[in-house]
Symmetry: C2
Subunit: 393 residues, 2 copies
């Protein structure tokens, strides 16, 4: 029943003895204390001793003695969400780079948020928090407990926190708008997220603002769940209430997939009748029908930047917002196309009727009336190359 503690761990005293110095000196040398004055030779001897003895300082002891724990916690709303998975990867990698270890918390329920906080911060396990799970009214925000611990909000904007690390969502959305605008679209729709989610609001806002300043009709907005089903409903709603729409910008990849499906079901040709642009890019985008045009976002970088910002705070820097700007790129595939004059007059006419025109080849790409995009081409040569990593089932 008694789990054996590591039989015999090498301690600081062991390396001190081996190097012929005292614990204090060894400790300070190993920790790079700049006020320590020893001959280079001695220092080298200490490091060599540590290395040959395989010295690995006990994290708990260090923490107890008042040193850093070199641990961060990452609070995620949903591990299986591709966006967060990439943020997590970026955070993890940068943390490692900086010598930190990361604790995970999937903060799905509010109740959990409390006990997570207790076990991570309360127990002195971590020095700071990367929070990607904050919503308005999130218990952690309300409780004021955060005041005591360094933290940053990732992909979130908590007003006046000065701790928001995010991509330029509004900028991304305005890029999205301009892209569709330049293709000739003037009647657009946007599938947004649930009202209480912060990134959704910003995306939406940026998109609408840009439309206003371009002087076109304010895009219709459907707010729906961040899921395929949500996108399906969102697109349905958008098209039934605004049949004049020729382009849809969907706020998440999942929603785009659902929207694609809904548009098909409505008998819409993509992009001949309606163009579809997805926020966020995933490999699978190239394999949908039609291959989806997307916005690629620096999510991994976002995670890394959040870690940097948090570590800055640990070093005493004043918290400040950081926005990863100018990095959203459109990856053009086949779901978006130039507006046709005929589209302008289609409007209502097409709704629910199903198109009956006979197209030459019913297989696969056949349904693209506009600039038939070779899907094979789109697949093998996205405008921008996304770095691939080995996947590993």
């Amino acid at each position: 029943m008694e789990p054996s503690p590591p039989p015999t761990r090498t301690r600081l005293i062991d390396v001190a003895n081996a190097a012929g110095v005292t614990k204090s000196v060894a400790s300070r040398a190993l920790n790079g204390d700049s006020t320590l004055n020893v001959r280079k030779e001695t220092r080298v001897r200490i490091f060599e001793a540590a290395s040959t003895l395989g010295y690995e300082p006990h994290a708990g002891a260090k923490a107890l003695a008042g040193s850093r724990t070199r641990a961060l916690a990452l609070l995620l709303p949903d591990l299986t969400n591709a966006v967060y998975a990439r943020i997590a990867r970026g955070a993890y990698q940068q943390a490692r780079e900086r010598g930190f270890v990361v604790l995970l918390a999937e903060d799905t329920e509010d109740s959990r948020a409390q006990s997570d906080y207790t076990d991570l911060v309360g127990a002195g396990r971590v020095e700071g928090l990367l929070i990607a799970s904050a919503r308005e009214g999130h218990p952690l925000l309300e409780s004021g407990r955060l005041d005591k611990v360094p933290h940053v909000f990732v992909n979130r904007s908590v007003a006046e926190s000065n701790r928001n690390v995010s991509v330029d969502l509004m900028g991304a959305s305005s890029t999205a708008f301009r892209y569709l605008y330049e293709l000739g679209h003037r009647n657009m729709g946007h599938i947004s997220g649930p009202g209480d989610l912060m990134p959704a609001r910003e995306r939406e806002h940026g998109f609408l603002e840009e439309a206003k300043s371009a002087g076109v009709a304010v895009p219709a907005v459907a707010r729906a769940a961040y899921s395929e089903a949500g996108g399906y409903e969102g697109a349905q709603q958008l098209m039934s209430e605004n049949p004049e729409i020729t382009a849809i910008y969907a706020g998440t990849f999942s929603q785009s997939v659902g929207a694609l499906s809904a548009l098909h079901a409505l008998g819409k040709r993509i992009p001949a009748d309606v163009s579809l642009l997805s926020y966020d890019d995933l490999p699978i985008a190239a394999y949908l029908e039609p291959p989806l045009t997307t916005m690629a976002l620096p999510l991994q970088e976002l995670g890394g930047a959040a870690v940097d910002a948090l570590i800055d705070q640990l070093h005493g820097a004043k918290p400040r917002d950081v926005i990863l700007a100018g990095q959203a790129a459109i990856i053009e595939r086949a779901s978006t196309g130039r507006l046709h004059t005929e589209q302008i007059h289609q409007g209502m006419g097409n709704i629910g009727s199903g198109t009956t025109d006979q197209r030459p080849d019913p297989i696969h790409d056949s349904r693209y009336a506009t600039e038939p995009p070779s899907s094979a081409l789109a697949r093998s040569r996205p405008k921008r190359t996304i770095k691939k990593r080995g996947s590993n089932d």
Copy 2:
């Protein structure tokens, strides 16, 4: 520069004082020491004091003093892989349930595996390891360092480790085979993973074995990367080398997506010409064209079972394999169908020729000649309901 330590933490001595007992008694009461003999009343007083003072024991101090750290590390090969994301979720939740915290390590490179190990186990941060990232020749396996720490392999089978926690991959594959077999298919193909990956080998083995015992032609196997591109190539290879194939079983979801695309490109109708069955189920499956028939696996449960097995080891139990059996379920959508007599004679004839028959409605579902599956139906009513969780951008 100096980060402020939590201004004034409540310590054990504080609650002891408040309850009018000594630290020893408080400690033992709080930790549920059964050899402690105190009046129930005293015990209650201690717990109340702890609670009103907001006592949160310092994890580092506990660890130092020889107690458990109540922390586990999860070594993942790829966070962005949906399979691992769900395993991670299950592990995380079960760990929390059992009072453990989980440290994350995305073990993409071998070099990282070493330093991860050092910082997690060496530093005494965690009591045990959940390893989902082991390949043959993985540095952790070779180094023998694992001997010193409780660990289990998740979704992995390391021979003779007696620590493998996995779904019954062979069973799943044989279910896959039987499903296709019962639809009438006799010539099948399998898209497997890279040769050195363990789950791939088991899936493959189970599928082939079942074919042998059913007395049908041994399925052709294409080994390809775990990605859409891999699936694309795998399907191409399979069909070009074995034009008689009427059903394909793909080893991962990504591969299935690629295979779907390749089959379309080859002019194959799905499932009229070729049925496609995917290992692993994801919401997006219902929105592909055609909606993909998949095998749903208890991945979250797998993560939870791994945590349980590991904690058992921490409690001194002898390591043993655990297999989550009999849980793979086919979710039938539209990518699989009954074999038609005409299919048997098609063979080579269809390759690359593209089909020219005129079907009534070129839109969407039109291309399913067999049992035209209403994709809307398949979408809204999968055979088995998958629990949905709120997604949260």
